[in-house]
């Protein structure tokens, strides 16, 4: 019995050594052509990987993709990463296994998605990114709103309404997310004309927007306007402001249904409306172009508009 155990451990160690000598970064089927895609020329299948469906913006984006795909007789396979970068990499692998012809990815994080884009490249599946792009791999087309311009529009609106040097609070999105950086950058481009008394992150979340705004209201006796990097935070901030009984102008970003309703009810003052459904449509149209052998633009700016009523 003891000898058997010894033999087993010797085998195990031997296996270990041999395996370690056989390590490589080359996997099976890599560098080859797409192994299992059903690439009949008439039926096109698009894979859509969404960062989260727990946010009306991305739901609208998904619906835009579905509507445009249905209109063109294209199949869509949809996976939801639930804001988890690791899950998204798995999701994309699963879509590739399912044999999609073109991938539309709305990344949770531009750095983390790079390896997934690379595996799509290795299988010869073209990638379109939506709203956020990828730091690595080859992306055919990146479709996003011009967030910097949107941030500037919001700042300009405050200046137009309240005059220069109005005291303003900025509610930032998830730190480091490209939307946060770009909207903040646009807004701060005009910051010289404004008096920004607080800039804090509420992670694009309505509940956090409420809490952060409550805290800021405690600390700041004089606030004339709030610019939130998305509508969810703006709506949270609005709740905090209403509860405090103060009169503060709230400007959001995205233009989701709740925010538009709030604006028409006299709650929020304005939102820089993205058109996620249009972004979804653009993505499917781009996919069709790729499918037909055309070369689409490398970057497409989806239209933005300031909604005030």
């Amino acid at each position: 019995m003891k000898q058997l155990k010894k033999l087993a451990s010797v085998f195990f160690l031997g296996f270990l050594f041999i395996s370690l000598a056989a390590c490589s970064l080359e996997g099976p089927g890599q560098g080859g052509t797409n192994s299992g895609s059903g690439s009949d020329s008439d039926s096109l299948t698009i894979g859509l990987s969404v960062s989260t469906l727990n946010n009306p913006f991305f739901v609208a984006l998904r619906d835009g993709v579905i509507a445009e795909a249905e209109a063109n007789g294209i199949n869509v396979e949809i996976v939801d990463a639930q804001d988890d970068a690791a899950k998204q990499v798995n999701d994309v692998e699963d879509l590739l296994t399912a044999g999609v012809d073109i991938l539309i990815i709305n990344p949770t994080d531009s750095a983390a998605i790079a390896t997934a884009v690379e595996s799509a490249n290795a299988q010869g599946v073209p990638v379109i990114t939506l709203d956020r792009s990828s730091d690595g791999g080859d992306v055919v087309t990146f479709i996003a709103s011009d967030n910097v311009a949107g941030g500037e529009q919001a700042a300009q609106f405050i200046i137009d309404q309240l005059g220069e040097n109005a005291t303003v609070v900025e509610l930032q999105g998830i730190p480091g997310a490209s939307a946060t950086r770009e909207r903040g950058q646009g807004f701060n481009n005009l910051a010289a004309s404004l008096n920004i008394v607080a800039s804090q992150s509420a992670n694009f979340d309505r509940g956090e927007g409420l809490n952060v705004m409550e805290n800021i209201l405690q600390a700041q006796p004089d606030v004339a306007a709030v610019f939130a990097h998305n509508d969810e935070m703006a709506l949270g901030a609005l709740e905090a402001i209403n509860a405090s009984g103060r009169d503060i102008m709230v400007i959001g970003f995205d233009g989701n249904d709740d925010a538009l309703a709030s604006i028409s009810n006299g709650g929020m003052a304005a939102t820089v409306a993205q058109q996620p459904d249009v972004m979804g449509q653009l993505a499917v149209q781009t996919a069709l172009q790729i499918h037909n052998g055309e070369t689409p633009q490398a970057q497409i700016s989806a239209p933005l508009r300031l909604v005030t009523e």
């Binding site: 970064l25 396979e77 939801d80 899950k87 879509l95 399912a98 994080d109 390896t115």
Partner: protein
Amino acid sequence: MQATKTKNSLPSVLKNLGPLVGLIVLVVFISILNPRFIQSQNILNLLRQVSINALIAFGMTFVILTGGIDLSVGATLALSSALSAGLMVSGVPAIVAILAGIALGALLGAVNGLLITVGKMAPFIATLATMTLFRGLTLVYTDGNPITGLGDSVLFQMMGRGYVFGFIPFPVFIVLITFVGLFVLLHKTPFGRKTYAIGGNEKASFISGIKVDRMKLIIYSLSGALSALAGIILSSRLNSAQPNAGNAFELDAIAAVVLGGTSLTGGKGKILGTLIGVLIIGVLNNGLNLLGVSSFYQQVVKGVVILIAVLLDRKN
């Protein structure tokens, strides 16, 4: 219990096989609905996808066997992978950075162990607090930004993206070795017997001379180190360390342990069961994606499967 000893053999076999039968049923069912599922490439993908949860769940198995719980594994993963990524960015050799990350994971686990033994805190509360603490420290350290530019060390790239023999994903290989090591530790050594003894009856183990506190300290450190190892695989797969990496990973790990038939009250369970539990969760994630099931229904299905598993366990 003792009276049914002769009758016990068949049901107990069934009970041990329960999770395995569940796994096989799932695999057959999904393969029939979508034959792509059973393709070797997909199976290898699936195994790589589950390897992170597997490592965390292995550690969690030891913790739960002692009657404890470790909610801080996801945050430990994030903090230790952020540290090793930070070291790599500043030019430290990958091997040193990886070992430092694992050492930090063990240290964070030891903090849990000390709070639970010396601080006499309930494991749930202690690790709930450290979960928040470690997550906060991760955000402070990373300033909320992902850490990128981890260099081109082959070793680091191997951790998440490499292959052994050209087809076994390297993370799967790590899981395999870890599993063999932990299986021997749990079922063939005094350490393992003491682990079961503490979970079965802590007072009796203490009286019979088992150094309960020391055992717990080692086990929570093990859980931390395994989480850190999982974190390094994750950051290699993502080619970056994410500040919110590992969010809610503790729940998947606990679910895997429970699916594998380990009792949350401690003292009963097997690490092989945990491996099967991990595979069940992985097959569900991967298979439901391949079947094109909406992500909302996927969560419903996962919840129902866990409930069924626990109910069956209760009946037995």
